[in-house]
Symmetry: D2
Subunit: 416 residues, 4 copies
């Protein structure tokens, strides 16, 4: 309701400025807005009957003063006010979202920086593939989160003001209509649309998609945290606190509650985002159903995405990283992945891979891996024992990680 | 397969340039690509067994020459090649899409320009609300289509090259990894990512959303065309041709086949777009399922969106607009909408609306509308007969339409 | 919370009966439930921290008496209580839904019966195809609604009780576990599952799908009502009442508010239903996110479906049917559809269709349709003027309608 | 096309039987079907132009003989033939699906039976919660798969025959229309609908939901298999074969290719299923877009679900279960879960849980768990060393497993 009133006031102010309504109207309307006691309950009942909150609101305010009744809402239709109010609400919600988003990003940046040399297994198809560093993993989360957040901000800021009158012709304003539209948008600090967009919901679809993308990104990070916290992996878990993550049946267990809450919110956000992202088939100049479904869906979605981001920020706040477990979990054969890469620079990719595969097979049969590798001619010839030991260091393949983490941190700094 | 080969060649070229692989390797690989007879059937079978087409392809090419076996695919993993090939395919598909998109836009621009003064009913909740012009309606479609097309192009061009090796560490390249990544992207004219993005699918999600948005926009326009072609409306219909839109049971009927085909394709595209738009939860460094589902879904989606846009272009090509029917359909009470707006400039919005509502009620009881309006004191005093007749002209409220259509055409020209 | 408590009580009662907990426990727990003042605010806070409402609830009740602390929740895990409570809530919601569903069905049955001979245009691809009756149309809506309602009831009643303990082994109960499970289900009048179904959400998916199907069916009927109420069609509209369907910009307009509200709710329900209908991928013995998303989604969905059905019942209550307009709208060529069918019984389908198509073409060029048809040899020979006039009666093709409407009414009666 | 022809033939046969068309017609049509060389390419082109394959097919067949032209397709509309053919195709697809479904179920039944006493960790929120048996886990998968398969079969078999003519009035058949409809359905062994259901898509929605549910169930099982195959878990993996699950970058790795393929197919199936499950808003007597989208979506979905089920059957065929790893992975504290349950039968749930929690805390600080438990008064008093040792056996809590597995196997046997 506050946003609806702000829009009506902006409209009146612009109309007065451009001589569409008499001088003093904007002030009268501002007074009406301040003094009128709009009972929310009554408004809700009338809104249900009328199918819109705007008509009863305009009526209630108009009842307070004669010139308000005359000029309030002049030239506008319900959808003009609702859509523009929604644009304002989305902006504000973006600001609310910014706080946990910044907190989560800062946590990730810190993890990326501190753990850039913390070796762990990189996992592909949920199997260990090759060593990586936890800092690089956190850097990946960070860039994804920063990107998703920026997509949301861009989509939120691209929602234009709406003003067109009954069917988008700006008919009440004569030839000056486009000027009123542009001034109104400027006054509300919203983009001016090329045309009134009553039935063309691209900006809302883009917003829905961006919010869905943010929820999905949160879900991805929360999902990885849950996987890292598996009993059998145990490489990271949420901070422990009294009463946090208690299980009613399993007293010895500490659940990743914040990450689970974030993921659950992301899962719930997805279909609402999908609804907005593709529900563009609005009939003629105003849809009979699709438009009315939109504003509540946007509000639901903003709430769910906020829940998801807050959950993620909570999960990351004080995240306990077990570096020893990370190193201990790393399968020696996987750590040996880099031996093939070093060997490949002399004998080529295929032969190197075959050498590693053969050694890995022998290791599965019980031979120590190092010995199995040294049994290979090429390894002995081209690497030697020292070269092999250097290549077997799990950190040996992480020479590019520092630069990559720095790229990610630079991306993060540029965005905030 | 062609795109996969192009990516492997680009990788080899860049690696040779940066001294990662010996001189001459790129040429050998190019020769292998040209001469190797890769049997698609065999490849498909091996791809199914291996769970990826890249490994058997690399093997088959490597069998042709020794240095190809040595250096082809050096430092890359399957996903590097598949993702980058997908980026190339998406670009090409964008070009394929551009032709019907341009045709549909040009048809719409022509309709907007020619029919800017063709008066018709604007419809809200599928009821006539106030007069508009068909040109303005077409201009609305045009801006929505241009916007949706640009969102797709931007999303397609934002998909970065992928190169990271097994788990995204660029381990095979040592500290020079980021330089290889950037050069590889540049060679393929793709954006370089901040980090390898194996498990961070924001760019694909954004593409899915944009394509879904385009499909939805096509669905909206096709839906409006179908509604305009309703028997009871009859304001526009697809060109008639022998065999086009024939019904097996209803010989007298001509169906809007192209618009229906466009809308059906848009309906099918929506869920695939949704899948991509939010399915970001890829586990750790490579997902076990979500990633494998992506490339076929992108290809399906590109095909369905192309079908939708082609259907729309077909429906708009030679669209028959019935201007007389448009004017005849316009309900006189609706056309009188503007009388209230003109009257409002003197007596204010509320009183003007009440005057019109009262006159409309009397008109529903049988009194001619003009007489019913003249029976109102305010109408007589402030408008008089001449003013009333001017305001009753359905075109009277369309003073802003010219400027609005020009804005839309300028937007269109700027985009192409 | 009431449902949670009901489940805990049923569990205690069954456990006492089967000798799992001491005699008198159930009574103590019942007393605790009645007397304990569980503050909802405190509970919500603790639930957020613990990630579940059950653990703090059990703790709060346990604080009231020693044997409650000992035996309440014995053998159960949080999910046992939440899932079973959800099953109870769904049943109750089904009863709440039953009232508007019965009202809407009764309205439709009445329309089907009264208007079985009210001729109107049947429309295919939004174009008139052949005559039908409004009663048959209403009968189609009725059967679809009855079917969808029954699918919901069946899915709601198929949700089994849940009891398995921490990971579904019924470990606390020894070999008697299955007997406890069956008795517990019986006491709550819920189906007993074959196995605890913690991570196998088929029953919830089926419920989501059924509720989505009901929402979609409501959306279909509401959509048809909106189309029938189009200005250019005007064959049916919602009852008019003061303040109902008022437009802020278009005083002469009466919007189909209830149908639009129903359709908007159906549109919002669809994605939530979709989420439940396919989100079955719950990890291992309890999902980390997917399960937690479920209960709120079910509650949201129940609310939205209720809104949709109530909107439909409201739209149908006192629906104004304009029989004259229905007949007047019927295109003569369309009404002549049946001539081809009658003619076909003698000359065959193809020739008859060609005769009608030719006559229709001549009619479009200005010749009266009857004359155009009589100009055809076959028509003159096989039908004659009288036969033609009989076949041209729009009701001539509706001989089966009575029987069809009766089938629909019988289906309705059998369901209620 | 074969299904379309089968439907036309059945229609003709029934019409001849009921005297609607002359004797001999059915035979002529059968001959036309057998002899007519319908070129698929030509048909496809004409189908695209006409917006349906039925009209050109009817025309092509009619060209072969005079009485075919006369009587083929009599009383039917395109949608009658397409919908009924779809019902037949769905049935056949169900039979195709039955083979891998039976194979997967049999594998699961075998695993459930053989491993009923194979102790492993049950996992909740991806953390170990309490012991379970692999057989019980497999039994859970089995029941879910059997249930999902039965839902599909029921939904497939519930799709009724379609016959209504242009707008569902059965107008060509006079008062005998319902009898023709029922006989036609009976001849095709399909259910007869209450009314023609051209625009009421509940049966298709239910089918989409059921297929989506099956895909989701496959995704759940495949997901669990992938999680069991994680490097750090290693409790089960797909059979190893030459060339199976090879990685291009990681030669030492064996990917769960079949499970990943199954899951990817399930992920792709979900949105198509969702589309069908809720897309019920078909306009009036035939939808302009939604109906046309349906048949290809059903065919896509059937293909994707088949892929998913086949992938699952492949993954389960020869699944390698590592019983030692299962027992070794079991966290001792988790295995001690049952101590609390046994203790609870004497001291009550709360005190028992507190005792276990305290002991678990001490165990985390380094004390052996058994000793930590024995340090508790209640444990010493009520269990004693022997009782404790018995309760510490990970299998101690699995007394109900045998009965539960038997219930599952009985369910499976009853379904096949």
């Amino acid at each position: 309701v506050a946003a609806l009133l702000q829009v009506e006031q902006a409209l009146a102010a612009v109309e007065e400025e451009l001589g569409v309504v008499p001088e003093g109207t904007a002030r009268s309307i501002a007074t009406a807005v301040t003094t009128a006691a709009v009972d929310p309950g009554t408004l809700r009942d009338r809104a249900a009957a009328a199918g819109t909150p705007v008509e009863p609101l305009v009526r209630a305010l108009g009842d307070t003063a004669d010139d308000v009744a005359r000029w309030l809402h002049f030239g506008a239709t319900t959808q003009d006010i609702v859509d523009t109010a929604l644009a304002l609400i989305v902006r504000r919600a973006g600001m609310v979202l910014a706080t946990p988003l910044a907190a989560a990003s800062a946590s990730l940046a810190d993890l990326a920086d501190r753990h850039r040399h913390t070796v762990m297994a990189g996992r592909s198809l949920l199997q260990q593939g090759a060593p990586t560093s936890f800092g690089l993993k956190a850097a990946g989360w960070l860039v994804a989160l920063v990107d998703a957040g920026e997509r949301c901000r861009a989509a939120a800021e691209a929602i234009p003001a709406q003003l067109g009158g009954a069917v988008g012709t700006l008919s009440a304003f004569g030839p000056g209509g486009p000027a009123v539209l542009d001034a109104y948008a400027a006054r509300l600090a919203l983009p001016a649309p090329v045309l009134p967009w009553h039935a063309h919901r691209g900006p809302i679809a883009a917003l829905g998609a961006a919010l869905g993308g943010l929820a999905g990104t949160v879900g991805k990070i929360a999902g990885d945290l849950i996987l890292l916290g598996q009993t059998e992996v145990g490489e990271a878990h949420e901070r422990t606190e009294a009463g946090r993550g208690v299980s009613s049946a399993m007293p010895a267990k500490h659940n990743p509650v914040a990450a689970v809450a974030a993921r659950a919110a992301a899962i719930r956000a997805a279909p609402v985002a999908q609804l907005l992202a593709v529900a563009l088939d609005h009939e003629h100049e105003r849809a009979a159903g699709a438009w009315q479904a939109e504003a509540p869906a946007v509000c639901d979605l903003l709430g769910l995405v906020a829940l998801a981001v807050e959950g993620l920020a909570d999960a990351l706040d004080g995240l306990v990283v077990d570096e020893d477990r990370m190193r201990a979990n790393l399968d020696p054969t996987v750590a040996a992945q880099h031996v093939a890469e070093v060997l490949a620079t002399t004998v080529g990719r295929r032969q190197a891979h075959e050498a590693l595969a053969a050694a890995a097979a022998r290791a599965r049969d019980g031979q120590p891996l190092r010995a199995a590798l040294l049994a290979d001619d090429a390894v002995r010839t081209h690497l030697g024992e020292d070269g092999l030991d250097a290549a077997l260091d799990p950190a040996a393949g992480l020479a590019a990680v520092d630069a990559l983490v720095d790229r990610a941190l630079a991306r993060w700094r540029a965005s905030s």
